[in-house]
Symmetry: C2
Subunit: 108 residues, 2 copies
């Protein structure tokens, strides 16, 4: 059994964007992500081989899916399930409070 | 792409304990659970074939693992990863606010 708290960082939050793997198995990775204003580089699109369930726990963020007319403005509690190959980018994340995510990457 | 908000119930929260599957795939089930004071029946132990990552998002709960001297008192943000076959029971959940969970059941 392993455990933790998503809102705690024993050593204090780092300055940059931060990824902590909580569970890693073949075909599955559950991770906590803390974004403090980071966004995808201009023209960059995530294009992942795994499906991703991503949940915003705190802060705010804007996600854009390729070809979508509207960006997705995410508030705490909002989740999105992105199938593998669904190209997307993070257009904006909040800084105060920072954007805290839980992501579940899983084989399709 | 599918999406939702964990804190919203279009039709309002039901009275009893409630389970909503958000993502269902072979070997994976991501679900939202709302407990409003429910606990495992006396002498009942969950004994699951899948691993379970469970995260408490709101409210409070007490979890007991078989053979553990101390119960686990969970607050928002607390997560536990229970391997398959790790017998456990929910001893108590809060009512105001109710206990809101995100559970990821996955094949070991």
């Amino acid at each position: 059994m392993t455990r933790g708290n998503l809102f705690q960082w024993p050593e204090g939050p780092a300055g940059g964007e931060r990824f902590d793997a909580l569970v890693t198995r073949p075909g599955l990775r559950i991770e906590r992500i803390l974004s403090t204003g980071q966004a995808s580089a201009e023209g960059f699109w995530y294009d992942q081989r795994d499906d991703e369930f991503v949940l915003l726990l705190a802060g705010a963020a804007t996600l854009r899916l390729e070809g979508a007319a509207e960006a997705l403005h995410l508030a705490p509690g909002d989740w999105v399930h992105l199938p593998a190959g669904c190209r997307h980018r993070v257009e904006w994340t909040s800084t105060a409070p920072p954007a805290l995510w839980l992501a579940v990457h899983h084989a399709p």
